[in-house]
Structure formats: C-alpha cells, structure tokens
C-alpha cells in the first residue's frame, strides 16, 4: 500500500469536509435543512465558480467578463455541434442552448458591472453554470447561499436580480485549496499524467 496515496486522499477529504463545516458554522441561519443543503456538492461547485470569478478578477473588468462569456459561448456551441463529447458529459442540446448568451445579453452583463450595484445577474450566472447544473438547480443553490448570508440578491427595476457575494465563500474556498496544498505529503514521486 502506498501511504502517500492514502495521505493525499485523506488530505483532500479532510479539506473538503472542513470547507463545508466552515460554511455551516458561518451560516446566519442554523435551520437543519439549510445546513444539509450547505453540505451538498452543488454548493461546493458554485463556491468554486465564485472563487474563480474573484481569482481572475472578472467582475471588476467588463472587458474580461465579455471575453469569458464569449469563450463560454464557444464552448457551448462546440458541445452542441459535437454529439459524442456532449453525450460523454451527459448534457442535452436544449439545455446547452439555454446557456448561450445573445450579444444583447453580453452587453447587459457588462453594463451590470458598471451599475450602482455591480455584479452578475442571476440569469447570467445560471447561463454560465449551465454545464454544471440546470438553471433551476442553480437558482436553488444561489437561494441557499443567500439564506445562509453568503450572497445578496439585489432586485433591479429591469426585473433582474444582481447577485453580490460577500466574499466568505471565496475565502473558504481559497482556504480549502491552501489546506490541500499544505497537507498533501511532499516527496512523493509524481506519476505521469494519464491520457484519456
């Protein structure tokens, strides 16, 4: 048995458990059903999304956001055109089409960053995470994080909801990564990457 592998696995599992524990402890509402939802995989995945948005500083720069959205559109169109890849990922064309931004929606997303309440519209987040989960599931995860006090949704006169993160989930996600980095035993021989 390779102890390094076991220690690595333990480190990963421990860091992820700690991440969810921190979310539960920091939640402003201790309703058991909410805490159960905070421990779900979808919460972890949406936290990763917010962490990356922050890490790449995409919310602060409309041009960066536009480049991201256009790249996202290209990925979706590639998947729509590739039956084999799409099936491997377990995704369907109607769902992917719901995630593609029109040029008007791209401009609105950029304009939202320059408004008095800068942030991404909930509908834009649902489009950007369409490969991860359905828009309905995305909304529920956002509502869960809002109920826990990690996000705020600001209603606009244009019937949109701007989602603003308070930074806690990004901080906990960064701590999760740091914990993995620090806990994984050093000195193991890296194995060649397996090509699939």
């Amino acid at each position: 048995m390779d102890q390094t592998d076991i220690c690595t696995l333990e480190s990963l599992r421990r860091a992820k458990t700690d991440f969810h524990n921190k979310l539960c402890r920091a939640s402003i509402d201790s309703d058991p059903l909410l805490l159960q939802k905070l421990r779900s995989e979808n919460v972890f995945v949406l936290s990763e999304f917010f962490f990356l948005l922050s890490a790449f500083d995409l919310i602060a720069h409309p041009n960066k956001l536009e480049a991201y959205i256009l790249s996202h559109n290209r990925q979706l169109n590639d998947l729509i055109a590739s039956d084999e890849r799409r099936k491997l990922m377990g995704l369907e064309v109607p769902r992917l089409k719901r995630g593609v931004f029109s040029m008007i929606q791209v401009h609105k997303a950029k304009a939202n960053l320059l408004s008095a309440t800068p942030g991404l519209d909930q509908a834009d987040i649902q489009r950007l995470t369409i490969m991860l989960f359905s828009p309905e599931t995305g909304r529920r995860v956002i509502e869960c994080l809002e109920a826990a006090g990690f996000l705020t949704r600001v209603a606009t006169p244009y019937y949109s909801k701007i989602v603003q993160s308070h930074g806690t989930i990004e901080k906990f996600f960064a701590e999760y990564l740091a914990q993995v980095r620090n806990d994984v035993p050093q000195g193991g021989t890296p194995k060649p990457e397996v090509q699939t």
Partner: protein, 117 residues
C-alpha cells in the same frame, strides 16, 4: 422519435429510482400536476402516451425529487419542451460528474482573464 427514445430510456431509471427515494419536504401537489401536464401534453405521441400510462405514485415520486430544485412555475415553463424536463428528471436520479464541466469553466475564465489556457 429522438424524444420518444429518450423517454423510453428514462423510464427504467425513474422506476428504479423510486426504490431509493430522497426524503421529501412534503408533497407539492401543484408541482406534481405541472410535471404531469408537461409530459401528457407532449407533442410526441409516445411521450404523451407513456406519461398517461404512469400512475400517481410515480408522479409523486418524481415531483418529490424535482422539488429540491424546482417549483410548479419552473416546470410549466417547460411546456412544449418535455425533453428538457426528462433531462432534469434523469438528472435527479443520476449524479453527473461535474469535473469535465469545471475544467471547461476554468479554461473559459482563463481566456477571459487573458491567461493562456
């Protein structure tokens, strides 16, 4: 035809899934009716026929699972797109690996930030 095949593929997953139901917050009758309406009103006769064949227990089970992510209004928005609803229903029974999608997301964000992916 494609939709009908998908429906036939989905059915065994749904029926098998009923045996390992997740706890439900309570039966949402409007959600159950919405699911039934979207499937029964499908243009593809094989989906609508299949939908009529299924009993109340089946619809209760499906709406219980969907209630973790949707309400009746969400489901009714899919009227005319029963294949999307079937996709969602299947998603409640099979946990999809999100790693590949997360890698694509990371790559798109790298493009946005100007870093090479």
């Amino acid at each position: 035809m494609k939709h009908a095949i998908r429906a036939l593929i989905a059915a065994p997953f749904l029926l098998a899934g009923a045996a390992q139901a997740m706890p439900c917050d309570g039966i949402d009758l409007s959600l159950r009716e919405a699911v039934q309406e979207v499937l029964v009103s499908a243009e593809t006769p094989r989906i609508s026929g299949w939908a009529r064949y299924l009993n109340e227990t089946f619809y209760t089970e499906v709406s219980c699972k969907l209630s973790h992510g949707m309400n009746a209004e969400d489901v009714l928005r899919l009227r005319g797109e029963p294949e999307v609803l079937l996709d969602l229903i299947m998603g409640t029974y099979m946990t999809r690996n999100q790693s590949d999608a997360l890698m694509l997301m990371l790559s798109a964000m790298k493009d946005g930030s100007g870093e090479k992916s």
